[in-house]
Symmetry: C3
């Protein structure tokens, strides 16, 4: 493992020696973040201005007027599905007296976006002011009225996945590169078209540093001790390099099946695009979907699947998401910082648009694997954050099986400058 030290633009050398400092105060490749990086909110904000982050899919806002609200730092935003079919991201704040325009996590605006406070009303497709009750008739068309449009935030759709950026400078090439990489895998699901519905969505405010949550997500060395449930579905080896002979045999068998079905399975490990890892994993025999009992999560197959496949297609997206496709549903997870101490984890379960709850799927059965797994991770992330608060904190080394943590840390240091 290389031990180069990255500090701002400058490579300091093999060992970072700071006079009189008890602890290292600069990032060292192969180690977790130093505390002054973990708790640097300004740096976090720069990252979300410099890069794109995942904020859900078209399946979260499938119909005209559907919205999903979310929070990034001190700001509330919402995704909204326009009458023109385009999904946009707008600031969730009325231009009049600053109330939230949408107040639920997910919901539906009728023909317009109407503020619940004084009924100021905005157009679905561009957030421009449509009607301002009690203001003069000319107001809407005046400069002040035009200045009362909702701020639109940069949002791009890639194969039905939605990426936003707070800054103007987030590179278009990122989106282009993601498109080239994701299209072959995600395209066959036609997530960018109608055909899906949001079966369930939940979110949880975590008392955990956002970077800690991402690092926890980028390795599965903790799975064996902490995700007993998940290990019913997957071989522990699957997440950690997959070097055990029994697993290699199982993978080999599965990959032949995938070839027959025309399902891509070649891993992309942040190599073709530094924002994205893609892997298809075999599940254990008899597991038709990501449920604890192995039974299908939904009676209606999706995308390229003509029959249940005992595997998942998974994506890990920098800086903030992990997404799992099975034969019958898509489970998306993304996490956004509120500040350096708290973040919110958003999780959606998306199924075929014609699937009927209670008939084709049961919410509890559909959602329990990732609910349980996430809650186990949340406890770990809280613990790691508490440890990072300690005056005794020191960055710790990553093993080779945690190489995606190192990738994440390097990537973050590079793009959060």
């Amino acid at each position: 493992m290389s031990k180069k030290v990255i500090m701002s633009d400058q490579v300091v050398g093999e060992h970072c020696s700071v006079q009189g400092a008890l602890h290292q105060d600069s990032y060292q490749e192969g180690y977790s973040f130093p505390r002054e990086v973990l708790f640097d909110k300004a740096r976090m904000k720069r990252l979300f201005h410099n890069k794109w982050c995942f904020v859900g899919t078209r399946g979260d806002v499938p119909d005209t007027g559907s919205y999903l609200s979310f929070r990034l730092f001190e700001n509330s935003y919402f995704l909204i599905h326009g009458t023109d079919g385009v999904i946009r991201c707008m600031v969730n704040r009325c231009a009049h007296q600053s109330a939230h325009l949408v107040t639920e996590n997910v919901g539906k605006c009728p023909a317009k976006i109407m503020c619940p406070n004084h009924q100021w009303t905005y157009n679905l497709d561009d957030g421009s002011l449509y009607h301002a009750p009690r203001m003069s008739d000319e107001f809407v068309c005046s400069d002040a009225g035009k200045a009362s449009s909702l701020d639109n935030i940069k949002l791009e759709e890639v194969a039905g996945m939605l990426f936003m950026s707070l800054g103007e400078g987030a590179p278009d090439e990122d989106i282009q590169g993601m498109r080239e990489l994701l299209d072959p895998y995600v395209g066959p699901f036609h997530l960018d078209k109608e055909g899906y519905k949001l079966a369930y969505h939940e979110r949880e405010v975590l008392d955990a540093n956002w970077l800690t949550v991402m690092i926890n997500n980028r390795e599965c060395c903790h799975c064996q001790m902490n995700h007993k449930g998940l290990l019913k579905l997957f071989s522990d080896s699957s997440f950690n390099g997959g070097r055990e002979p029994s697993y290699m045999a199982a993978f080999s068998k599965a990959s032949e099946r995938w070839d027959d079905k025309g399902l891509l399975w070649k891993e992309k490990a942040f190599d073709e695009h530094d924002c994205c890892r893609i892997a298809r994993y075999p599940m254990k025999e008899g597991f038709k979907s990501t449920s604890f009992d192995g039974k299908p999560c939904s009676a209606m197959l999706i995308g390229p699947h003509k029959e249940y496949d005992e595997g998942t297609l998974s994506f890990w997206l920098n800086p903030n998401a992990w997404v799992h496709f099975t034969s019958d549903h898509i489970a998306t997870n993304w996490v956004l910082p509120i500040d350096e101490h708290k973040c919110i984890l958003y999780t959606s379960w998306i199924v075929h648009k014609d699937a009927v709850e209670g008939v084709d799927y049961e919410k509890e059965h559909l959602t329990s694997v990732w609910k349980v797994t996430n809650s186990e991770d949340v406890a770990l992330c809280r613990s790691m954050t508490q440890g990072a608060y300690s005056a005794h904190y020191r960055p710790g080394p990553f093993s080779d099986d945690e190489r995606h943590c190192t990738q994440f840390c390097n990537w973050y240091m590079k793009y959060s400058r």
Copy 2:
């Protein structure tokens, strides 16, 4: 609407242009506050030193020894009804080891004010130290003993309404002017005499900026969408200029009745005194008091009322209160900041001193209109505060129907310097 910009003492001009600033950073008349004003705690404190604020009525502390505790910024105070009938405001902190002297919201001190910690005891009428157990006999009369008196805070009573100020400089003319204005309206209720009791008192800590709460209170354009309950009692038009013909006819009919009864009804809209608006509103037919079913709130009439009148006499007091008199009770609401992020809303329901709970009134029936209405407002104020935290926040324009918001903002900017 005028667009003059007030920034400290200086009128900057038609448009405030700050080089490089994304958002306006100075107050502009006709718009809500800029964020740096909303969250300026030092400015809030100056206001409460420069001016008087409403902190209840004699009905909150009707008998000798009655107290009501409240909080303003980091300090706890209490109103106390002396043996001489005078109501005073004292610091709620024992001179010995700083414990709160009174620990309930409202209650009664026996002959003295006794600290629950070590029984240091103070005189009801001036807060001077009466007894300090275990200190030497000479201590109470020594300089140190005299220095252990409870701090008295400036408090003035106007027609039974209580106004306090943190600063020595709050003008006496304010009180004199309020007296001249309020006496003709409130005097007939004899609230400054015995005759009332506190039927119910509650308070709620709000996760809302105090200024936001006051601005919400100064307009009723939000009522139509948010106070469905209240609109059973009052015409929406009543709050918003009252220009609808049907309302004008109803008001005209009511005002003739009020003339017959000798009840003043002429609106004073922060014109005669910039701290006070007074209005008498007709309620809808059949509403004897502010209850959802229109039935009387109490069987015992108060003040000038010889029969139930289908109307309210309402007061909006700068900087922090709104008070409603009906034929059978008085409902007072006042709100004080804890800091720039939180405030406390205090609400009292005051009835005839001989009214008996369960016989003449039912708590639930008496209190539900303002309880429900306040809880609806609290949700709005939280939402507005969240919107104000946003990096995307910009002050928004007030309509003419929101002119009392503009009055409040101008007033606040003027007196919080």
Copy 3:
């Protein structure tokens, strides 16, 4: 009472006059702390580096592998009973990814200390790294592996009582002095040997300034008004100088009994060692132990007791503890700051190792006296802290019966520099 003013190293004089300051801003002997001392976290930290604090007894971690976790400032630590019988204090943070190693308040590590996150494993006796899964075989023995040992914090055992210090400079003489003082009193209990078990342990996060909690603990003038339960067991006079003739007679009778039994009873009031007060108190007739009904707390006697004695042997330890020994159990209380606003109160009840719950003792019966008493104190400390936040706060004078408060304040000012 002397009125010398101590400010840093400098005696300023009889009265501290600070130009233009409303309130005293330096400590004055005989008065509680000025606000700038109460809320000075850096000063608190210096104290815990300069001196030793009590963190439980061998009875909290009686067997090999037993641990008790606790928090001091932003750090989590744990006591651990080694295979060599030595109790050590280690930083509760895995060197790998900073998760807490022990996650319960009290518990037991098997042969090693294993991180629940990725199974990094440490030796019980010195915290050195034993196994780091997925790291190279050489890692554990490498410099990086050695640097991954758990930080050991200074811990000393005195007659079975445990004292830790955050700093290297805490004087050994303190420990030696404590040993000389405590051994004659505590030695007969053989708490430094096997023979005890932890019957119950609890902790509560207090919204109270830590210094306020300690000052409350150092006087019992508040007991009469606030600890009605405790006064069933003890004469109020017992805590406050014991000058009442009836109490002096009771004490005289009890001390003859103690002499007969060979139980020391001479009070040591922070005189022989400025960290320690020791007193033996008679309980009221019929009280065999510290239970509200006076019945024994446990059926098994401990230490020097061959029969139930109607008395307690109590220790008040600077800066942070109070401990009560009866014939059948030991109750320990200690309190550590999280920051200047919050602290944690830890309480343990320790009984004979062979005592069986439900047979020899009932948890509820054993613990209720100190549970109730502590909860009464917690309310007072919160109230005092609130009072100290007030802009109107001024330090208050201590009476002679509160002389141990003055001792604590002087001691704190001296050692927190």
